[in-house]
Amino acid sequence: MSNKKNWPLWEIFVRSKNGLEHRHFGSLHAADADMALENARDVYTRRNEGVSIWVVESKHITASNPENNGELFEPAQDKVYRHPTFYDLPDEVKHM
């Protein structure tokens, strides 16, 4: 393999219509951000899938490590008082 610089990888986020959040659609290669936007338009919105696109170079994403999932996410599991079903109310109470 040559030591040539290849087009970097970009992550593509598309808002499918106003009112919805941008969602991760996939990735692609592009030389720069402008090209990434154009490529994303041609690759991921050919069937009218979007009204707005975000592109982020993949190397700029910091991801949590699944090995830490225990300490990161499990402590939230037993905090049931954050959910409405934790609170007992008589059936007669309406609109709550």
Binding site: M1, K4, K5, N6, W7, L9, G26, S27, L28, H29, A31, D32, M35, V43, R46, R47, A63, N65, P66, E67
Partner: protein
């Protein structure tokens, strides 16, 4: 990590898959899982990209504007699908350029069907109807495979491919209903593409090497022979409907099995093509390598421009 620790991790890993949990890129995975997935996913991506060539061959000669735009859109989708699949493969820590190298050096395989020539317009119909038909049978179960990025790519692929087979069948239908010359063209294409399409679903179960492990990892949900039977059972009535004849004298309905019995497949031909000696293996590779090499200065230029632009912007900011 000790051997026992690894064994333990592997056991947990297999249990997660058995529970239908998805595996995501950063999760721990056995090396064999990673390697098998890189192989199968890149092979799938290569098939999409090489698969553009036999159909691309007819874009400039499509018989009507309506057919031309449909064919262009279809071949373009194949580029898109290759792209989705390469991207999904890249999540396993291999770059697209490395995958291309494997394809171009002949190390990686792609579906052998694309090594057959497209010599008449009816071949566009036969490919859409039969080849995409067989591909769909293979692909739909993969929407639920264990590796998250692969499953997500396949969902997108399957959604987009729904028009491909219809496009092909419509071409065949029109030809079959056309002049005697057109009908003959359609029958000729069916004759040439039928057996390669059956082979496309892979070697018979008794010689297929990867099946058991692949079943466990949900890379495969049904055996090659089952898929082939399903393909035949659904395709024969479609041929009947438009008055074309499946080129297999041994084909007949088996009341007891509620399925079609069919004739012997010429596996020697299959292995000949897989090993690189099909009618168009060399042309296909030459086209792919040629496009890549001719594009090198373009890719370099885009990178050089991006870097210069960034430097200029940084300078301005100072």
């Amino acid at each position: 990590m000790s051997e026992e620790q690894i064994k333990n991790l592997e056991k947990q890993f297999e249990e997660r898959i058995a529970r239908d949990e998805k595996i995501e890129p950063k999760d721990w995975m056995p090396e064999k899982y990673r390697k098998t997935h890189i192989r199968q996913m890149s092979q799938h991506a290569h098939s999409e990209i090489v698969g553009m060539l036999p159909e691309g061959n007819w874009i400039t000669r499509a018989p009507s504007l309506r057919r031309k735009v449909a064919l262009l859109a279809k071949v373009q989708d194949e580029a898109g699908h290759g792209l989705y699949l390469y991207s999904a493969t890249e999540t396993l820590g291999v770059s697209r350029d490395e995958l291309y190298e494997q394809l171009h050096s002949g190390k990686a395989k792609y579906s052998s069907i694309f090594n057959y020539p497209t010599i008449t317009w009816a071949d566009m119909g036969a490919i859409g109807w039969l080849v995409d038909g067989a591909a769909i049978i293979n692909q739909v179960p993969l929407c639920n495979t264990s590796y998250g990025p692969y499953a997500r790519a396949m969902i997108r692929v399957c959604k987009e491919e729904s028009f491909h087979q219809r496009q092909g069948y419509e071409i065949m239908m029109k030809l079959a209903k056309g002049t005697p010359e057109q009908k003959e063209m359609a029958q000729d294409a069916l004759n040439r593409w039928w057996w390669p399409s059956l082979m496309m679903l892979g070697p018979t179960d008794d010689v297929s090497v990867h099946t058991e492990q692949s079943m466990k990892w949900k890379l495969k949900r049904k055996s090659n022979d089952d898929l082939r039977q399903q393909f035949i059972d659904q395709t024969v009535p479609q041929a009947d409907l438009i008055g074309l004849t499946i080129p297999d004298p041994d084909l007949k309905w088996n009341e007891e099995r509620q399925s079609y019995d069919f004739g012997e497949i010429d596996w020697d031909e299959f292995w000949q093509v897989v090993k690189g000696h099909g009618p168009c293996n060399k042309e296909r590779m030459k086209a792919r390598v040629g496009a890549w090499e001719r594009g090198e200065w373009v890719r370099d230029a885009a990178m050089a421009h991006a870097e210069k632009k960034q430097k200029r912007q940084e300078k301005q900011a100072v």
